[in-house]
C-alpha cells in the first residue's frame, strides 16, 4: 500500500509514531478528539507514555504543552482548527509564541473539510490569525508526502508552529522524493501566462484547473506554498514579473491568509493585478464541499475562469 492510499490523519499518527521511535521527547497531546486526529489507537497503543489526553479542555492542553516544551519536550497538540486556533488564541499567543516555546499546534479538518459539523466548527480564519502572530510558523501541507516531511521538519526545528491537518484521503501531488523547506515555495508546474498560488487543501484542485487551462491554451505558473509563514516572497515576485497576473486560492477567508500575504508582498515589491479566491468574509455552514465551492466561487471552474480572465484569455 502506497503512502497516498492512507488518510491524511492516518499519516499524522503513523509519522508521530516514527518520530517517537526516534526521539522519546516527542509527545502527542489531544483534547478528546484523538480518534478524529488519527492518533487513537495508533499512538495510544504504540506510545502510551507519550500520549496525553487533556479532555475537552483545549486551553489547558496548550498550557500543558508549553510546560512540556519548557522542559525540552516536543509536544504536538491537535484539535479541530476552530479549537486549535481561535479558541486558544491567547494561550497560543502568550504561553507559546510570546514565550517562544517549542509547541506544535495542529488544526484538523480545515475550512470546508469540516462539512457536516457546520458553521460552528468550520474555521476560515486560522491561517490569517496564526500568520499575524510573531514567532509563529504556519504550514498547510497538501498531501501525505508533504505532511510527512512537514512533520519531520517540525519535530527537528525548535520553532513554535501551527499546521493545518486535512483528515481524509487526498490525491497525491508529490511522491516519496518530496522534501520540505519552509522558506521555499514549490513550483507544481511552470508557465508564463498567469501565476496561480495555492496552499493546503486547494492545491490538488488548483492542479486540476491548471490541466484544464493547458488544454485551453493558458500556460500557468502554479506555485504551492506549504508554508504561509515564512513566505517565500522571491519566488512569487519573480513569477509575477513574468506573468503580470496572480490568482490565489485557499480553503479560507480571502482576508488575511494566503491571498492577504500575496497582496502584501506584491503591493510592496512588484505591484501586480491579483484575484483572491476563497471564502469572501463569511462564516461556514453545514454543507458539502461542492456546494461551498459553488456558493463562494473557489472550485476548479472558478479557478479556471479567474486565471483566464486575468490572463486576458477569455
Amino acid at each position: 500500500m502506497a503512502l497516498h492510499d492512507n488518510e491524511m490523519r492516518a499519516v499524522y499518527g503513523m509519522t508521530l509514531n516514527q518520530l517517537m521511535d526516534e526521539n522519546r521527547n516527542v509527545v502527542c497531546l489531544e483534547a478528546d478528539l484523538s480518534k478524529a486526529s488519527g492518533t487513537n489507537p495508533r499512538v495510544v497503543e504504540a506510545h502510551p507514555d507519550n500520549f496525553v489526553n487533556a479532555g475537552v479542555a483545549e486551553a489547558d492542553m496548550i498550557g500543558v504543552a508549553a510546560g512540556l516544551a519548557s522542559e525540552g519536550k516536543i509536544p504536538f497538540c491537535a484539535s479541530f482548527t476552530c479549537f486549535a486556533s481561535r479558541r486558544v488564541y491567547d494561550q497560543v499567543t502568550i504561553s507559546v509564541a510570546y514565550a517562544n516555546l517549542n509547541v506544535k499546534v495542529v488544526g484538523t479538518a480545515p475550512g470546508v473539510t469540516a462539512g457536516p459539523n457546520g458553521g460552528t466548527h468550520m474555521s476560515f480564519q486560522d491561517l490569517a490569525i496564526m500568520r499575524v502572530m510573531p514567532n509563529m510558523h504556519v504550514y498547510s501541507p497538501c498531501d501525505v508526502y508533504e505532511l510527512r516531511a512537514v512533520l519531520r521538519h517540525m519535530a527537528a526545528a525548535i520553532q513554535p508552529t501551527y499546521m493545518q491537518l486535512i483528515r481524509p484521503k487526498v490525491p497525491a501531488v508529490f511522491d516519496e522524493s518530496y522534501t520540505f523547506d519552509p522558506e521555499s515555495a514549490v513550483r507544481v508546474s511552470r508557465g508564463d501566462d498567469i501565476t496561480l498560488v495555492s496552499t493546503g487543501y486547494m492545491t490538488h484542485f488548483a492542479r486540476h484547473a491548471v490541466e484544464q487551462l493547458a488544454g485551453q491554451g493558458v500556460s500557468v505558473d502554479h506555485l504551492h506554498y506549504p508554508s504561509v509563514k515564512p513566505f517565500d516572497a522571491a519566488t512569487l515576485v519573480e513569477s509575477a514579473a513574468r506573468t503580470d497576473g496572480v490568482v490565489t486560492v485557499e480553503n479560507q477567508n480571502i482576508l488575511g491568509g494566503l491571498g492577504g500575504a500575496v497582496c502584501e508582498i506584491l503591493s510592496e515589491q512588484r505591484p501586480t493585478r491579483v484575484k483572491r479566491l476563497g471564502v469572501p468574509d463569511q462564516f461556514g455552514e453545514v454543507a458539502s464541499e461542492e456546494y461551498l465551492f459553488e456558493k463562494h466561487g473557489f472550485g476548479v471552474r472558478h479557478i479556471v475562469q479567474a486565471c483566464r480572465e486575468l490572463a486576458g484569455k477569455v
Partner: protein, 283 residues
Amino acid sequence: MNQDFDRQAFDRLAAEWRYVITDMICRAKSGHLGGALSLVEIVLTLYWRIMRVDPKAPKWKDRDRLVLSKGHAAPVLYVALAYQGFFPKSWLKTLNEDGTRLPSHADARFVPGVDMTTGSLGQGLSCAAGAALAARMDDGDHTVFCIIGDGESDEGQNWEAAMFAAHHGLDNLVAVTDYNRLQIDGFTEEVMGLEPLADKWRAFGWQVFEMDGHDWEDIYTTIREAQAVKGRPAMILAHTIKGKGNLAVEGRPESHNIKVPDAEAYAKYMGALVERDFELPYC
C-alpha cells in the same frame, strides 16, 4: 541555596525586599505593588529554605521550578533571583525601562532563573502541570511550584488545569494561592466570590492546605507537608495581606496597581514603608 532559619535575619531581609520592591515600582512610575508585597515571605522561604536551585546554573535540570502564574507580581521574583545571585542587583533599578531585561510581568526569555513566561492570567497552572508531567516522564525528583492569584482563580483555565493535574496524579506539583482577598475591582468576595475555595480544590482532587502567608514557620512546614503528598497535587491557600508592610497600600484595593507620577507620590510610598532604614542595592 537553603539556609538555616534565623527569624531576625529573615524579618530584616523581608523588610529590605519590601523597601526595594517599592522603590523599583516607584522608579517605574507605576506597578503592581500590592500583589508583590503579599508574596514576600512565601517567595523568600521558597528560595532560601525550600527550593533546590543553583544561581550559577539557572537551567540545571534537577532544580525545583517556580511558575509565577500571577506574572504581575514579577518584582518580588526578580528581587529574590537578584538576591540569590542569578543576575546583578543593579538590574533591579531597570524595571520597565525602555529596552529592559526586567519587564513588568515575569519573563523567562530575558531573566535568568525565571522558569516560565507569564502575564495573561490563568495560564500558569497549566504550564506548571506540563512541567510536572515532563519531570515525571523523565524520572525527575524535583518539585514544580506554581503561585496563582485569588483574583486569577476566576479564570476557567485554572480549573481545567486542576482537573488535569489531579487526573494525572501530579504529586510533584505544589500550587500556592496568594489569598489576599483583593483583586483589581475590589474584594474577591464582592467581585466574584471564590468561597468555599478549599472545598473547590478538594472537590477537584487536590490535597488542600491553608497557611498564614506571612508566618515563617507556618510557610515552611506547610510547603514541606505539601511536597510530601503522594498521588495527587497539592494546593496551599496562603492567607496574606495585599500590600503588606507598606501602609499606603496595605489591605487596600487600590494597592493592585499604583501610579507614581511625581516626587511627592514617590515620597508617600517610600515613607509609608513600615521599615525603611535600608540602602538600595543599586545606587
